[in-house]
Symmetry: D2
Subunit: 405 residues, 4 copies
Amino acid sequence: MAVRRLHLEQLKGIPVSDLEVEIVERKGKGHPDSLIDGAAEGVSRSLCRYYLDEFGTILHHNVDKGLLVGGRAVARFGGGNVLEPIYMVVAGRATNSVVRNDQRREVPVGDLAVRAIRNFLKSNMRFLDPDTHVIVDQKIKPGSADLVSVFEKSGKIPSANDTSIGVGFAPLTATEKLVLECERLLNSERCKKELPEVAEDVKVMALRVDNKISLTVAASAIAGLTSDRDHYLNVVHEVANRVKDLAARSTDMTVDAAVNSGDDFAKGVYYLTVTGTSAESGDDGNTGRGNRANGLITPMRQYSMEATAGKNPVNHTGKLYNVLAQRAADRVYGEVNGIKEVYIRLLSRIGDPIDHPQIASAGVLLQESRAISSVSSEIESILNEELDNITKLSTMILRDEVTLF
Amino acid sequence: MAVRRLHLEQLKGIPVSDLEVEIVERKGKGHPDSLIDGAAEGVSRSLCRYYLDEFGTILHHNVDKGLLVGGRAVARFGGGNVLEPIYMVVAGRATNSVVRNDQRREVPVGDLAVRAIRNFLKSNMRFLDPDTHVIVDQKIKPGSADLVSVFEKSGKIPSANDTSIGVGFAPLTATEKLVLECERLLNSERCKKELPEVAEDVKVMALRVDNKISLTVAASAIAGLTSDRDHYLNVVHEVANRVKDLAARSTDMTVDAAVNSGDDFAKGVYYLTVTGTSAESGDDGNTGRGNRANGLITPMRQYSMEATAGKNPVNHTGKLYNVLAQRAADRVYGEVNGIKEVYIRLLSRIGDPIDHPQIASAGVLLQESRAISSVSSEIESILNEELDNITKLSTMILRDEVTLF
Amino acid sequence: MAVRRLHLEQLKGIPVSDLEVEIVERKGKGHPDSLIDGAAEGVSRSLCRYYLDEFGTILHHNVDKGLLVGGRAVARFGGGNVLEPIYMVVAGRATNSVVRNDQRREVPVGDLAVRAIRNFLKSNMRFLDPDTHVIVDQKIKPGSADLVSVFEKSGKIPSANDTSIGVGFAPLTATEKLVLECERLLNSERCKKELPEVAEDVKVMALRVDNKISLTVAASAIAGLTSDRDHYLNVVHEVANRVKDLAARSTDMTVDAAVNSGDDFAKGVYYLTVTGTSAESGDDGNTGRGNRANGLITPMRQYSMEATAGKNPVNHTGKLYNVLAQRAADRVYGEVNGIKEVYIRLLSRIGDPIDHPQIASAGVLLQESRAISSVSSEIESILNEELDNITKLSTMILRDEVTLF
Amino acid sequence: MAVRRLHLEQLKGIPVSDLEVEIVERKGKGHPDSLIDGAAEGVSRSLCRYYLDEFGTILHHNVDKGLLVGGRAVARFGGGNVLEPIYMVVAGRATNSVVRNDQRREVPVGDLAVRAIRNFLKSNMRFLDPDTHVIVDQKIKPGSADLVSVFEKSGKIPSANDTSIGVGFAPLTATEKLVLECERLLNSERCKKELPEVAEDVKVMALRVDNKISLTVAASAIAGLTSDRDHYLNVVHEVANRVKDLAARSTDMTVDAAVNSGDDFAKGVYYLTVTGTSAESGDDGNTGRGNRANGLITPMRQYSMEATAGKNPVNHTGKLYNVLAQRAADRVYGEVNGIKEVYIRLLSRIGDPIDHPQIASAGVLLQESRAISSVSSEIESILNEELDNITKLSTMILRDEVTLF
């Protein structure tokens, strides 16, 4: 087997946590972009499971493009209506016809896709009814596979489908952790129980200047659970409190939280939704426009534009390399002494085995005392191990052991 | 007026050009993601022009989400066919009803949208026929405006539509310049004249390790202009030569260029297209998934995830702040002495005037001899000027004086 | 009020029952054309109920055009799968915005439409799951109403929306009755209990030559309930028996019944469906292409091409006049002595009050002994009564007291 | 070969021309239902031609279901705009993959369909621009064919695809002729030259009572060619004059013509269109809802509900039998002495050869002096000849020698 092209480089300068300014964002699970990410990924996983059950292997598919067209709704205290449903479509292609022993078998791609999107919505949104609030469509083109040739290749390392980039980094800064935890808190089971008015469509934006974090939280309130203006103000107040409590536990920095800054009480503008997502009234979404594989949008960092959602977990390096880079970064930071910050950058070449990227490069910012030579073999080992085990990622992804967005 | 929150910070470390590893990508104008970016932006501009002509001001719209569903085609040397058309849809909302002096006027939003997408395709693709190769659709929801209230606000600085991030940097590294120029070369008028076989769907990926750049160029050949295998090989060869010539003029580094690495001659796999875009045979696209506002994808840089295409150029900070940040970065690098690298980061707050971001932050890497104090007032002036003039950006965008992707 | 233009004419010749040849058809409730008829009508009724509940009057709508695009499915003994869902769309326009006392209220047209189509499917099809076997879409354009002007008109007789034709006749011939009863038998609750294998997609075609009726019955078997070839043959056999029993009770004529003539056992072709409708595997449907308002297609009769499904029951004469003509024909035949056959023909004029058609014409075939003068006043009374009561039809339609297809 | 089941029956009574009341309708070529009929038929013919050119035989297809969703437009004297384009979709299935000598060839079904619909619109509508006024879509499912088995069958008579009815009659009454000629006049080249304001969307409805015909003509005026109210009134006046002139040449009966009765000058309601079809502002259409194969809708006649448009001309008896029945009726009336009126009724059985219907029945109304025996052999000959030559119909249809709607 060809030698792997690993690379290690010492970065200089200031870790992001020590920069004076930091901007971090996370779109919550009910955000239109997150919904269409979830839909695309749901379709991919459903296909994977079907292929595995029926054919023992994951067949070719790619459903990483999608569109959510916002509906029209009227939300008012105590209730409201969806006037026009949201429209969601996942596009791509998938093997829908398999020849084994001269027999052709059909894969119910369209049925699986529609079912997967609906199931995703049902599992993630309490008040968005996929039966009537959403028109679920799919535009997945057919493909065919010959199982003999598929199995001839099995055991072999898959070839990269494209020339794609994966990036991961560690550790998260305090600001990044706070943003991540903040959204997770507001969408936690506990919060949904104690403060059910808080919708799934939460967006958290943090601006840190020196040691002061300003959180801008947009957290829609479920109209049907929010009886009036006072009730709404209580919810907003309670969200702010919980966010501040979290911040107090999470960091020593000063944190202020502005919740629903778009409200304009004088004009009667409150952030209410009937279904829990702003998609109900005209906010649209595209796959791949939301959170990166670590759950965040970090414009002041190295990161990858690749969408992970909807790509197949077998040979789509736009997905695998982002997951792998993140895992490797976490391990390097966790296992190797003397690392302040690490970035892992991977680049595939179309047609090459996925465990042999064009480059697997680690950029590390070391603690003052350390020399790059003292960490190189450990980092190399980690990169090698992760690349050696790259084919296991698909199982982990299917088992939900990996964050994708 | 409130004081602006400007911020200046000295970065430390190594400029990207001096890092050992660099990865840079550009999707050419015929790439599926670029096509749907162009479609969305075309719709926005067409709406802007109509609103200006009819009402003297740009009315609210946002069409920054789109989907391109790839078609099916058979390309073969000397010709080929599109079997199933590409499907393109731009979604969003736009003011389609305007009340002035108690009279309602209707805006032909759907008509303008379809026309704009078709015109965009006609102006940018030589062999993609919008009449038969593409089904052009739009899902733009209606909105209404009362001109009186619009004009009351005119003169005022518009309020940010959302809490969004803009990032720009300067200068480009040699690698970045090369990637940009490489795609532009292959899609230049001259190249299309001398080597018309080269399709618009070009993708350039660069990996620099130390002072060696490996370019991976995917440049489809137009099937109808490419008579046979030998012809194709000549085209590929000629592309490689031109790229290398460009590289030789552009940089002292060693540059190798792999063109169409996905080809597999043994299996008869060549990168041919009938229409000039891989969208013809199943490659899908989403708005906002392609190049950033500087025309590049630079995972090793600070940059913004925001799509610029399709957003309105009046108060959508996801568009304006990326353009402004890039302009400010260029100016800082060009006008201020002693700057090695500069990053401009802007963050809006929903509802605030767009010339008063939450923060406008410059991070600069200085030449060894310089102190931050020596550049601060100049940088501050540039930021202030650009923010003072932010409302002029919409005109510049409409006049095509600004790159968006 | 203007005088009504009533007309009575004595027809000569042979009643259809005494012609030597007669051809009659009925598409069962699971036929693709019936499904999309039912969907359109379901949407209209749902809108009517909403308008009545919210505004006390039925507002303008028309949703009488629809398309069902067949899916793809594999049905095999004992089971099968839908591979690609059916796509159903109902088009038209409906009032979605109502101004009352200067307040605008929105009507959830899209939501009501999707819900209505799904409910229609759920109530009528046992094995077609609207959640996963069908993509339910709507393309209903908005309209607005000013309640003041609506109520000013209330009490007044509505004006005809178009120049349309309604036709009804009585009595049904023995062949017509048999066709109607045959489909109803196979789709009766009792039959679904005793012979659940019989799908909802039944089509009955009768050819009578002299006193011999040849029935061609296409009755799909539910794949999941039909374990094998023998089972299938039993079902087909049992369907034939039940149809013959019905025929024996219903008529003295000789009746033979060919069930599923399209089967080709040698080639393994059986009429199986997973969901109970041939729409699952590519049979498409259009609104208004199925049964007429009496439940039949009778090419040897006078009848109307107008679709009743989806038209509004207030002023759409294409719906009202067909219902009224059928009711009047039934009454004339039932109440007036000496009538062998009666045809009622109505023609509206756009803009005229619906109780004042251009003409309301009765053509009657009299028993030998009778003179037209002896029936004219009775028939005239019936026509006048029915026209006087035309505005009650909408209530009857909403209460399901009237067959529409 | 099996004996054909021919049938001849003497009808009694009054020919339609002598009935006291007659109602006849024709939808002009720009009517929404006609447009979607034309689109479906255009797709079928385009497929036929392609199949013939490439494979020497017409392969399986059926595209007889379609939907036109009306757009939104503002028409005003002197101009106007389409605000939202019309949406047209043709659905069905077509062979898109052909195996010959172990080689698979693809058929560009989607491309042909879109092109055909656009060409149909271009050839038939002067002011409807398929580029911007219409979104042309197709939902045609794939099918495959093995040319060997296709050719094995060639020479053989095709088998009926379904159990379908065809009906034709002759002669046309004076009223029917007038309706047909009236629409043709208004859509004639000459009229378009002399009175270009008259749109293609013409609808003619005739009510004859005794010897007085009332024509209701809806003829939209092209807004861009109609400068003002006076101009419009002139056009309407001129249309009425031409219709009356035609009537005077065509019949001795009294004819009055009401043109655009829906107008309401007091409220400023005129029948103007920008594009020449009411589809521009919300009138929808479905395939098969317009004129029958003789170009008319004749509710007081025997006729067939089957759509001819879009069915394949090889074995779809819903198309072939309607064409054949009309031709046979014309010949019987033209060639056989003593016929007052003739109806031809054909019924296929799925799977049987198309030249052997379940029944081919002629019902004739004879002149007083004639006996049925005196015409039976001639009529039988005509039916036999037409059935013997049924396979030639597809060529005639492709050569446009046959009216279909």
